[in-house]
């Protein structure tokens, strides 16, 4: 059944209010169960042996000694995960990333795994596994990996997207080009041309909950997996494929999830845990240590980006070119392509071209991190725009407004934008009181914009009405940050009942049809849409039951404010039937009352944000402190404003961490040197000011409530906003993120020397 997803303006009773989340009590009392919080009868402890080398051939793995250790129940290597990927290269890479196959491609690459009766035994067993490596030359830097003499990771990888096709393998997996217009002509029109090169270091999502799962495989091919994930249906599909299980026989339950930000969209430990369980014939719990999370889950790309932009004196950007190099870790990705698509997306630039190079290096396989690839491109573009503004003597906001993308602007990746909110956010920034706050000595202010597509995708929702009229809403998109409240609010809004009468749950893979992963800011958009349609489906049933109870034709029943109303001359005197009254009689009027919806929620609305950042720079140490910060973002429609603000604030904080101190530090030996929260420095409470937020609502025309995704966009502007603020405070343009104290101090030195 197809539904009309177009936006209809309406007054809301529940949507837009600030209700209490349904999982709040469980989470403040410690009852909520996360990935590592369950155990199974006869359960074993799984542990993974990881390569200490960034690049090595695995000559031999001898597990004999470990197998003899009492309490060891299973040891697996890649031999226990035969390749069932049928030539699907993406799947083959996932498999190889889960367990090295003949070669270790990064420090931390899994080589073998053990299941034992307890932690101590498992740890001892790992030490007894003897792996013979032959070390190979390695490369961890994106620019170095592109050099012709760089050690090649994959002998069968030839750069796609270049002509003629290369005959020699290299670390460049693909070249991408986007854009339109004639950039040479555009630069010829320009009064000012600015060229800058930027670098951004690799960062990690830094969710506080490490990856954890409990796997149980039976000899009859049935299996269960309890796991912290953003997408249990996707995990089921991938694990089934890799393990040779039937999809319906693997039940995956998503635990409460302790943060994901894209990092829990891919499998790492889960196929290993399933393979251990299959071999041991017992449940296996596998929990990554924090050190393993940093070394061997999926951080974001480090990049190297060149930007050239030209503008007329009136502020019109006449041409823009970006050349971007993104590393995807040890396996090819499409990260540079995403950089190309997003780099100039906030602007209408007549002549623009982005070239992306996707590169592999000896680092962990990159995963999505909140608006993946966009923050790095935006750092480069937003910094360069400020340089242009300075050169032509215009305010940085006015230059942005002069070139801002609007409805009808062609996106750099091709299509024409519908209604979008970037201009609204910039206008809101311009008039925001923050812009008038006084700056003290050594302080500066910066503004930057950001874009993220947002996505929709496959969604399935069940809504069941109990005999007392309370409602169970079963949703298949994992709730990472409070989505259950939003879903319950939407169901209550549609049905016309109280929020407290709806309880939203996240269904496991056995209880609902496929749902795409909660990624791309799709949760509230797509499950919200499916919830609306499921509720309307249930209303259809409720009306039918009311008609039956009244003995009147269905056409004479309407649903208003949570009640069935009889209409028409014949029966308008009948007293209304409430949802509760209809539910109470459901057994006698046709059985349980439910609504369902399966939908491909397409038409996600683009997300745009503009941020203001005030920073104070210590001129003697180069240390930057954020003193004031404001986020303005278009939400389309904020279902639960608290959690929309929370997304803005959290995304901004992650961007600020990236801008100031977060980075993967690799030694010359190719090993990660800061695999812990001590030296991978995410912002702590005392680093941050309050983050002011302003929610704008430019309705998405392709959603009944006008919802746009809100989760990711606000991680995009902070790098540029912080960099621009530092430039304002010091006169120094930072081109290398994070803009850590030593980097800022050496830039200040260079300024003073020059």
């Amino acid at each position: 059944m197809t539904h009309d997803n177009s936006y209809v303006e309406k007054d809301y009773k529940v949507v837009g209010s600030r209700v209490k989340r349904p999982d709040g009590v469980d989470k403040v009392t410690g009852k909520a169960r996360y990935g590592a919080d369950v155990s199974a009868p006869g359960g074993l402890v799984g542990r993974v042996l990881r390569s200490p080398h960034p690049h090595a051939q695995i000559l031999k793995i001898n597990t004999a000694k470990a197998e003899k250790l009492p309490g060891v129940k299973a040891i697996i290597t890649s031999a226990d995960l035969p390749d069932l990927t049928d030539g699907d290269q993406g799947m083959a890479h996932i498999l190889e990333n889960c367990m090295a196959r003949g070669r270790a491609l990064y420090d931390g690459h899994a080589v073998a795994a053990v299941a034992a009766v307890d932690e101590q035994t498992a740890a001892k067993a790992l030490k007894l596994i003897d792996v013979k490596y032959k070390k190979l030359p390695h490369v961890t830097d994106v620019d170095e990996a592109m050099q012709p003499d760089a050690p090649v990771l994959h002998e069968n990888m030839f750069t796609r997207g270049v002509e003629p096709a290369p005959t020699k393998p290299s670390n460049i997996s693909a070249r991408t080009q986007m854009g339109y217009g004639d950039v040479d002509a555009g630069f010829a029109e320009a009064d000012v041309i600015v060229e800058r090169s930027y670098k951004t270091e690799q960062t990690h999502q830094g969710y506080i909950e490490p990856h954890a799962c409990l796997a149980s495989v039976n000899p009859d091919g049935t299996a269960e997996l309890w796991v912290t994930t953003q997408g249990h249906f996707t995990f089921r599909n991938v694990c089934s494929k890799l393990l040779g299980l039937e999809i319906a026989k693997l039940k995956v339950t998503s635990s409460e999830i302790g943060g994901g930000f894209g990092g829990k969209t891919h499998v790492w430990a889960e196929p290993v845990a399933l393979a251990l369980s299959r071999k041991a014939n017992r449940p296996v719990k596998l929990v990554m240590s924090r050190d393993e999370v940093f070394r061997a889950s999926g951080p974001t790309s480090s990049t190297s980006i060149d930007i050239k932009m030209g503008a007329r004196k009136d502020g019109t950007i006449t041409a823009a070119v970006a050349e971007m190099r993104y590393q995807g870790g040890a396996f090819p990705g499409t990260w540079a392509m995403l950089g190309c698509m997003t780099a100039f997306a906030c602007y209408s630039i007549k002549n623009n071209r982005s070239i992306g190079w996707d590169v592999v290096v000896n680092r962990p396989k990159v995963a999505a991190y909140r608006a993946p690839s966009a923050p790095m491109a935006a750092f480069a573009v937003e910094s360069t725009i400020d340089v242009i503004a300075k050169e032509i003597g215009m305010s940085a906001i006015d230059v942005r407004l002069k070139n801002v993308a609007r409805e009808g602007t062609q996106a750099p990746y091709g299509p024409t934008y519908g209604p979008i909110g970037i201009e609204n956010t910039l206008e809101a920034v311009k008039s925001h009181p923050h812009m008038r706050a006084k700056l003290k000595k050594n302080q500066g202010r910066g503004v930057a914009c950001g874009f993220w597509f947002n996505i929709g995708g496959q969604t399935c929702v069940d809504l069941n009405i109990g005999i007392d009229g309370t409602v169970n809403l079963n949703v298949g998109t994992v709730d990472v940050g409070g989505a259950r409240s939003s879903m319950a609010m939407i169901a209550a809004e549609e049905l016309g009942i109280a929020y407290d009468d709806v309880k939203a749950n996240i269904g496991d893979t056995a209880s609902l049809g496929h749902n795409d992963t909660t990624e791309g800011s799709r949760g509230t958009f797509s499950s919200g849409m499916a919830t609306i349609f499921a509720a309307r489906d249930a209303i259809g049933v409720l009306k039918q039951r009311a008609a039956t109870m009244w003995g009147i034709p269905l056409d004479d029943v309407e649903w208003q404010g949570g009640e069935a109303i009889a209409t028409g001359d014949m029966h308008s005197n009948l007293p209304a039937l409430t949802l509760k009254e209809i539910a109470a009689k459901s057994g006698r009027t046709g059985g349980p009352i439910a609504g369902h919806n399966e939908v491909v929620a397409d038409g996600a609305g683009m997300g745009f944000a503009s941020h203001i950042c005030d920073v104070e720079v210590d001129p003697e140490t180069g240390r930057s402190q954020i003193v004031r910060y404001t986020v303005v973002q278009d939400a389309g429609k904020a279902i639960h404003p608290d959690y929309v603000e929370g997304q803005f604030q959290g995304a901004a904080a992650q961007g600020i961490g990236w801008a100031l101190n977060e980075e993967y530090i690799y030694g010359d030996d190719g090993r990660l040197q800061n695999a812990g929260f001590l030296d991978y420095r995410i912002p702590v409470c005392s680093d941050m000011p309050f983050i002011d937020t302003k929610i704008l609502e430019v309705p998405n025309p392709n959603h009944p409530y006008g919802i746009r995704g809100v989760g990711e966009t606000s991680i995009v502007p902070p790098l540029g906003a912080v960099g621009n603020a530092i430039a304002d405070a010091t006169g120094v343009r930072m081109t290398h993120a994070p803009m850590s104290p030593p980097r800022v101090l050496s830039a200040l030195d260079a300024r003073d020397a020059g």
């Binding site: 040197q673 001590l678 702590v684 005392s686 680093d687 030593p742 101090l745």
Partner: protein, 286 residues
């Protein structure tokens, strides 16, 4: 792993003396448990000193203070007399980790872990603190700057432990201060730490002790830095000299937390700032 909780320092030393395997002392455990977790140590014996009565006390004596080896940072903050006498030492101790860490970490543990970046150590050195060391056969008292002899290495014998740290009673017109540089506002290991203790006479520095952390294999006392300010009222020229002397005393390493150049530079910057605070605390006029 055997876990013992002796009731006296002597008993603890006896346990250490008898142990043939790897023995470790446990006070706050904020370093030892991290090493355990990371598989860096595999103890055969852990001796918990928190059940030694003396190790849990802060004694105020005629000569100064005696701080038991198991006294956690949080208790130093609560000790008003100590805080008044040695604000720099207490501040330094309080910079070690979070409130959670403060509930456990100790001065003696910070010293014995022998990290070059230990926050409390330069402050203790500047204040003239001493470690009271108990062995199976004898006791000895060692100036704090002599305890660590290299990263992770101390002068303690295999049968020895620190029972307490002594701090002298500060002379009149004495002030101390400790500053460290970290990239965040909290939770980091010092990139550079500088402690300054000054005693004034008629508005000028009569004597001074300056100690640096995280710029050499151990925290170091820098007599040249002290000489740079003795006799001055901490004018700009004196501060510049102090800064240069501190930078000159640096012998740091390049690592994930800082480069040689950056550490050397910051030692000078922080020295000036710390000296000014110490000077003010000693009653000097800025």
């Amino acid at each position: 792993m055997r876990y013992e909780k002796p009731a006296s320092a002597k008993e603890a030393a006896g346990l250490l003396a008898k142990e043939k395997g790897a023995a470790f002392l446990l006070a706050g455990g904020t370093d030892l448990l991290v090493k355990l977790k990371m598989g860096m140590v595999e103890p055969d014996l852990v001796v918990d000193i928190k059940h030694i009565a003396k190790a849990n006390e802060i004694q105020t004596t005629a000569k100064g203070f005696n701080i038991g080896a198991a006294v956690p940072g949080a208790r130093l903050t609560d000790h008003k007399a100590l805080k008044k006498a040695w604000p720099g030492v207490v501040e330094a101790a309080n910079l070690i980790g979070s409130d959670q860490i403060q509930g456990r970490c100790t001065l003696a543990g910070n010293l014995c872990n022998a990290s070059p970046a230990a926050d409390s150590v330069p402050a203790m050195i500047a204040a003239g603190a001493k470690a009271v060391i108990v062995g199976a056969k004898k006791r000895r008292t060692v100036p704090v700057e002599k305890v660590a002899i290299g990263p992770g290495q101390t002068c303690l014998g295999s049968d020895e432990l620190i029972e307490s740290i002594t701090l002298p009673k500060p002379g009149p017109r004495t002030g101390d201060a400790y500053l460290r540089f970290i990239p965040r506002t909290e939770m980091d290991i010092a990139v550079v730490g500088v402690a300054v203790c000054v005693t004034l006479e008629r508005g000028r520095v009569k004597s001074a002790r300056v100690a640096l952390g995280a710029v050499a294999p151990t925290a170091v006392l820098v007599p040249a830095a002290a000489r740079a300010i003795v006799g001055t009222s901490l004018d700009d020229e004196a501060l510049e000299k102090l800064s240069r002397a501190c930078s000159a005393a640096c012998n740091p390493i390049d690592d994930k937390r800082g480069t040689v150049e950056y550490r050397t530079r910051l030692a000078g910057v922080l020295a000036k700032r710390a000296a000014k605070i110490a000077f003010l605390r000693a009653g000097g006029n800025s």
